[in-house]
Symmetry: D2
């Protein structure tokens, strides 16, 4: 951390500040320039309140130099992490294709979709049981019953299953869920993250609608700090001024996160655009950008889907996407 002292500050006040910083077990390197004095804080500055120092009368600006995340940082863990989701590996060259309906609606629906996406190359099945909806009057998911149906589909197809958790009190219900999803709106639900950190369950952590990559990695850090290193990151679109698309998929996040962190990163092109016609080109683009996997909504009858039907592919469309994705993967990795 670097603190720049205001021009004309008496030396005695600078010394007071240095004493205070050193009392926090951080050493200080003083660099007195022509115009300005700069203090370099050396040691574990993660406990120093940057804004507090910035607000002092004698301080001009404060800059943090080292990244505030550690467990998720590639600097301290150069090799790709490979997360094992009940036998399906994600990251380090292993590509995940997660497909399934936005919401689990019925036995027949989930079984049919599960069989079709498996036949088209999916290696995990997704399905929402607890649904975060902006309106209390919207369909909130089949909840525990939805999880039961999803587990039934897992038994029939052998596909590991992925579903979203909204409340740490529900963890028992998720015992047979192979990959627990934390949705965008809960990315900074720190209480939930801490609970997941106490399990060993693989977690799929979605980026918040208006969160930057540092915040996403800090949320991964919450889970990892608890001892659970099985974290997969997910880019799903951020909020911008664009209104034709629901969110703006930030695909540069893929190579950028790979540089900053060793964790696998997958992309959800369905939620990002909110429009099924855009899922195919954005799935291709995600793979071309270097993603470790895709999560795609597939529904057997979009017109009657209870939620988010607008962004679902039919099984036939998914089959076409899935095949071309493999071909793009070959080019990118060649």
């Amino acid at each position: 951390m670097i603190a720049v002292i205001k021009i004309g500050t008496p030396q005695s006040q600078v010394d007071n500040l240095i004493d205070w910083i050193e009392s926090q077990n951080v050493s200080v390197h003083v660099s007195a320039g022509h115009y300005q004095t700069v203090l370099g804080l050396i040691g574990d500055t993660s406990k120093i309140d940057m804004e507090l120092i910035e607000n002092l009368d004698i301080v001009d600006t404060v800059k943090r130099i080292s990244e505030p995340f550690k467990s998720a940082n590639r600097k301290f863990h150069p090799d790709d992490t490979v997360v094992d989701v009940s036998g399906v590996k994600v990251g380090g060259g292993n590509f995940a294709v997660i497909a399934g309906p936005c919401s689990v609606e019925s036995h027949d629906q989930i079984i049919e979709v599960a069989n079709k996406v498996k036949a088209s190359g999916a290696n995990m099945l997704r399905g929402g049981a607890f649904k975060p909806r902006t309106s209390p009057y919207d369909f909130q998911g089949l909840q525990a019953d939805g999880l039961e149906l999803l587990i039934e589909a897992k038994k029939q197809t052998g596909l590991p299953i992925v579903s979203e958790i909204m409340n740490a009190n529900h963890l028992d219900l998720f015992e047979e869920v192979d990959l627990i999803q934390v949705g965008a709106r809960n990315m900074q639900n720190f209480e939930l993250l801490k609970e997941l950190g106490r399990t060993k369950k693989p977690v799929l952590l979605k980026r918040g609608l208006a969160n930057n990559l540092k915040e996403l990695l800090m949320s991964a850090e919450y889970i990892m700090a608890g001892g659970n290193e099985n974290v997969i990151l997910c880019e799903r679109g951020i909020r911008t001024f664009e209104t034709y698309t629901r969110n703006t998929l930030d695909l540069a996040a893929v190579p950028m996160l790979k540089e900053l962190s060793h964790l696998p990163i997958i992309v959800d092109p369905s939620h990002a655009s909110g429009i099924s016609r855009l899922v195919k080109p954005m799935a291709f683009a995600s793979v071309a950008a270097g993603a470790d996997g895709l999560m795609i909504e597939v529904h057997n009858d979009p017109l009657n889907a209870l939620c988010d039907g607008a962004q679902s592919l039919t099984p036939e469309q998914f089959d076409d996407v899935s095949k071309k994705v493999q071909r793009i993967l070959e080019v990118v990795r060649s």
Copy 2:
């Protein structure tokens, strides 16, 4: 809701869509124009998935006409709601001055600050016990002990107390907290909102960092739909591209929310800017914009504050702010 049909769509397909909409218990008014056919959906359209219809091949655009919030809507409740917080009224001309430290740190600290802000005109005491921090390595608050100290300060001063909840499982601990705060990062923690809806406790609902006013009102709706109408809204700054200030206080939200809703709206100028020098002008501006109250951080020793000291006023600064706020209030309400 209005659905505009694409030019050149065969009548049979339009009829199919009308049949489907009517099967959802919504009636349809067809307006066949020169260029385009427009369907007007009449009745309770809150169950109709707008995006699903928008995604149909034959549909050009869909527009929602009525607001999706009901209990919070001024249209159906023209008079200002007055929330009673253990005897202190908020809204409908009653002005709330909530002051206190960002974090409760010690017995002496909270008692001293409580006495000082009371003397300067505060009518509620705030203090953080459970702290949402971006980093797992940052101070997380004194938690249950912090609440104990806050309750002690309430006994000594008679001021109702305000503190943030992060986990519905903590509700028992908040029994003597008079106004329960939902922080910006939990504004869309729907599970927490539902639990608060089942209590009768006054709730201070802060706007999320990147949420719009409609979403804030939908979150209020979650609480109200459960039967708890004691909701106070709080503008605390939104995320923008500006970097000199931490967040951008959206003061137009005050008159706009008063037009849309009957709920009281207060402003937190401390978190918004993150800089104590800006708290005074922004507190004045909040009152001038018509706010029903202020929530201001006050600390007896900012340099040693464990968190967010950078944005706290000293008791002396708070005293000056508090007095001038009353004078601006007189002008605005004259």
Copy 3:
């Protein structure tokens, strides 16, 4: 356009509004529902001030139904436009590879880069002569001399050239420039757009940093309304909260613009990220998303580049990108 009348409005006031609207040569279709009266405005509503009506006491909301752009609209021009840039076709299946340095710096530099990018498959040469810089103290480009050098490179290689204009008074200097670029900061410099509309020169119109797709198309409309239909759109990244990357490339803009408009759309992955390491994956992603071309910065000596060296590829890196782009193109178009 649809105007929803407030509940309880006297019929006489509704009639007054209808009279006023009809005096603007727009006819009105009245749909009186159970709860609300909705006016449908039929005809050329582009002259109606939507906000004026919205502000009337008796009006609840106003929604525009038809797109405000016409010449650029695919609805009225279903086939892809192919822009001919001095023999190089862009759009309708023709892929543009525009490469070259951020700034033209010297004779040797531009000739060397031009020959190298041509050998690697570029079919147009870019080079900045007039540079828009945030600071008046930054290098502003070689200006007229830069254009001379660029024209020299065109003579030697036969590649059509692309350069940015910042002032309509410079149009004479751009006579031999084959594709005139309007930069992001000038996307809404309407005076410049009008002047370009009076020429027949192909124009490369970049999306503004915080502009949405509708505004981009309205700016294209400014050029086309003047009689110049040779417009190529360019996505170059928008401003978001992310700070690791300079801007956020919005690749969903590619398929979305292709749906809304018949104009070709290319992507500039160099400016978007501001980091050369991200150019390659983002170039691949752009092609996978369906772009009609790429504009990539290539420099023979990034460390000494006068501006934006940070985002330039070396000729060797460009060669690798260029070859794989063709392979991805094959997959996407198969």
Copy 4:
């Protein structure tokens, strides 16, 4: 400027970088820490391309320490600048009240409004003649004729006049305009700014829709670097996700800009919200936040205004606003 070197970089490469930096006439202070080596660049670093260094393989991060603006910087000019607009002083305790119609429409309109706003306390008259409109089909202003009518109103009332320029070629037409406005969309039209820097005319520089305060000050710097120090800054709202209001007025910009710069700062609450009902509370809030003036749209017949009628006050509403503004000013300055 501070450059942090990557861990494990060979000393020879660090030395190469230091040599290169020193060749740019900047001296380097090396601070070799336990973990990381930090280079401090001392001298005039405004010519150093920060991104170029950041992109080097051996560099981890680069931080700029000093502000990139100089002429506009309060550090080098501690006293408030007072801009004299044909006798009306702005800044340094002098409060400007600029009022008038969005567009000049007719002789009678502008004379009537001018007389009324003068009677209510306005000390400058605004009126648009050249209008920047998103659509080429919208009313573009009366242009030269509009300026003539505005000059006529100046003669009759003695009020200095304010109008927007969109093209440096129009400067001759603005000879009798006392304060030339640069609109939000032209804030980074650097060619226009340079031309205005060559005049001595007072310039009202509006903040761009998605520009931060540093960029606003850099644009002021463009004008001042040319020799024209008569710059008044104007906050007019920025683009956010909120849709109920057209833009989000950033009132914290007022005290923040006063800290960063010595230039006067006024607020335009009319454009920001786009809704006349919000103009009054936001005008009050602007004054309470410490603004040096207000610019308010006033129209004698909002329903027939050719543009932006939705955001105009009637003369009677303006009179009420104007009087209370003076009373709030008294409180704030006491």
